[in-house]
Symmetry: C2
Subunit: 211 residues, 2 copies
């Protein structure tokens, strides 16, 4: 064993290229950017999609509040500048994951068109898939799993997207996908995204058998 | 085809767990943290290691100045605070990559023990492998591929690690690996790291045949 890895180590200058990574991972890397109001269903769809992709043998990873706000972006607040920097850093990290060959799924409200367009501008054509996770605000407010809408309506949360006058949600004008979570369940939403990826050739080998 | 992916989409709450990722990628994820003076050989080792790992069928990715300073950390300068924030963000991104199941290789001078220890503290035991890429400063200054030592000695670069009095290099006290690039060539250094990973069970399946 020792001998086999010591021998014949050769390399070319620079990073491993994308084609080598695609061959290894069996997929075209991309960023699936979920955007929508609080409680619209982004997180459920992101987790479900990640799990289904991994079960099918694909390297996929979700960036969300859980792993970003407590780590990389824990030194950011909720001022307009900090919100922009939050999305900027997330988009740069997503770009690194795509460069590494992964399918990365981002799950953030990301309410401003300018921020999302800035994110898109980091990627090559076909690498950025904007998914509008759409539900009417009264449906989201009724779900309200964390009681955030209630708090916002009572004025206990400032600048709450879609509720506070200073925090509008700017719906995507031409997203790659538009999901309606008031009339589609999560499984159907995930299926829609999978079809999109499959039809456009993001999967370079067959799904693992039995999954 | 359409039917096969629409059916039977089920999931559990939360992220894909580490065991599922290890099974998929055939490796235990870790961060290989290279530290050392400018021109000590970090970048060459990082690139070569990445290429050998990918050839052997492993998902590996290098974080370095090329993909970090022009992207995620382009809004940081070289003040002490910004240097600390630079390493903090890099370590948080490395943690995300490890969480995603990858072998991530970081290639930064990272001169301060406190910053490297802070990085280490983000990881579980066995996930952080500090590699001291060691060469005497006169050897590094003689190599000087970018002419940076010359500029620093002429005073054209401030706070240049190892040259400027205000920018010391704090050598690791107990790194997992200590490579001596004045007496070992890059292939030998890469081999040392591969043996370390192999002996400690980071590779969960055989290397691809022929590589």
């Amino acid at each position: 064993m020792t001998k086999s890895i010591s021998e014949n180590i050769t390399w070319h200058p620079g990073h491993v290229n994308r084609a080598e990574r695609e061959l290894l991972l069996g997929q075209k890397a991309c960023c699936i950017w979920l955007t929508g109001l609080s409680a619209c269903g982004k997180s459920t769809i992101a987790m479900a999609l990640e799990q289904v992709l991994v079960k099918r043998g694909h390297a996929a990873y979700v960036l969300d509040g859980d792993n970003i706000r407590h780590g990389l972006n824990k030194n950011l607040g909720f001022s307009p500048e900090d919100r922009a920097e939050n999305i900027r850093r997330i988009s740069e990290v997503a770009k690194l994951f795509v460069d590494a060959g992964l399918i990365v799924i981002t799950s953030f409200i990301s309410p401003y068109r300018a921020d999302r367009d800035q994110a898109r501008s980091l990627f090559a054509p076909g690498e950025f898939i904007e998914v509008f996770v759409d539900a009417p605000i009264d449906v989201c407010a009724q779900r309200d799993p964390k009681g955030l809408y209630q708090k916002a309506l009572r004025g206990e949360i400032k600048s709450f997207t879609g509720v506070s006058p200073d925090a509008p949600y700017e719906a995507p004008l031409s997203p790659e996908l538009h999901l309606r979570t008031d009339v589609q369940d999560a499984a159907s939403c995930v299926s829609t995204i999978l079809h999109y990826l499959e039809e456009r050739g993001y999967f370079l080998r067959e799904a693992k058998s039995g999954t």
